[in-house]
Symmetry: C2
Subunit: 197 residues, 2 copies
Amino acid sequence: MATPSVYLAGPDVFLPDPRAKAAAMQAICRKHGLLGRFPLDADLDLAGLRKNEQGLAICRANERLIRECDGVLANLTPFRGPSADVGTAFEVGFARALGKRIVGYTEVDAKYRERVIAHFGKTSMRRRDDGVLQDPAGMSVEDFDLVDNLMLDGAVIQSGGAVIRPADVGEPGVSVFEWAVRTLARLLEQGVRHGKR
Amino acid sequence: MATPSVYLAGPDVFLPDPRAKAAAMQAICRKHGLLGRFPLDADLDLAGLRKNEQGLAICRANERLIRECDGVLANLTPFRGPSADVGTAFEVGFARALGKRIVGYTEVDAKYRERVIAHFGKTSMRRRDDGVLQDPAGMSVEDFDLVDNLMLDGAVIQSGGAVIRPADVGEPGVSVFEWAVRTLARLLEQGVRHGKR
């Protein structure tokens, strides 16, 4: 049986040394029998392309990588605000429509509602007459006891996966990323046993 | 020929009166020969469900709505940070994987890089030795002359669509939303002529 491959979605591509992070994540994937594919793996030749054409070429390469993978590990740690990185959210949606198995993970335990309140500050929030909580712009705050927007949690859970927070890690000394890898590895193995791949 | 239907993705569902906004958007869609479908249209019975089960049920209904539609109009106006709403980003990814036509729009002219700098404040930004701009967390800032994360712009453009900013509206008195509707209506009409639907 071929080694299942998983796409490593997340804002890790924006780290000062994304390739070092990718290598570390790929080593953990290997340990659990998975081939980790990182967005920068495509190694595109962007020379001579205008800025926006470079962006479109990277987009095409990432879409292709996701199509080729059996599953997606999505880093949903809040990025530049109370929610996940939008590029990662896009990729979760893309993978979900293709029926891929998805496991999300985040370095933050607080759920979405709590994070929005912390982001704006408790005293900046308002409550409508019907009890709905609103941010300072008057936009209501989701109240579904989920880690992020319901489309993200919903798609991950309904793909058979889970969104792993630090509090969910069931073994001391194991990182939330490694716990997510183990969860996805088991999920993909079950898929094989049930003939779902 | 059946009226093409388009899914109205965006953080408009969080407005104080989302149904009023939906009705206004749907009227503009009708004017241009499109049937606008709003996330809340499914009118789910959520009574008796736990909070997280409600979220998952709404997620399933929205995924179904997107599958049923011919195209997606995505409100990419920044939401609780410098980027678009992650639920909308998810839906753009979902639609893209299904090969739907997508047109994005935003109420803000500034592109992503400029918005990130404004979000953190110019003096909080750092520049690496190789010239790459970093936010205060040390995360590099995309430099692709695009409206948001390259996956969003890339997918919209490569679906045949465009991301419409106020500056792109070619007729006085027309809203950015209506311009986006017109753009998508033409795109879907061309798809029919070319037998692509």
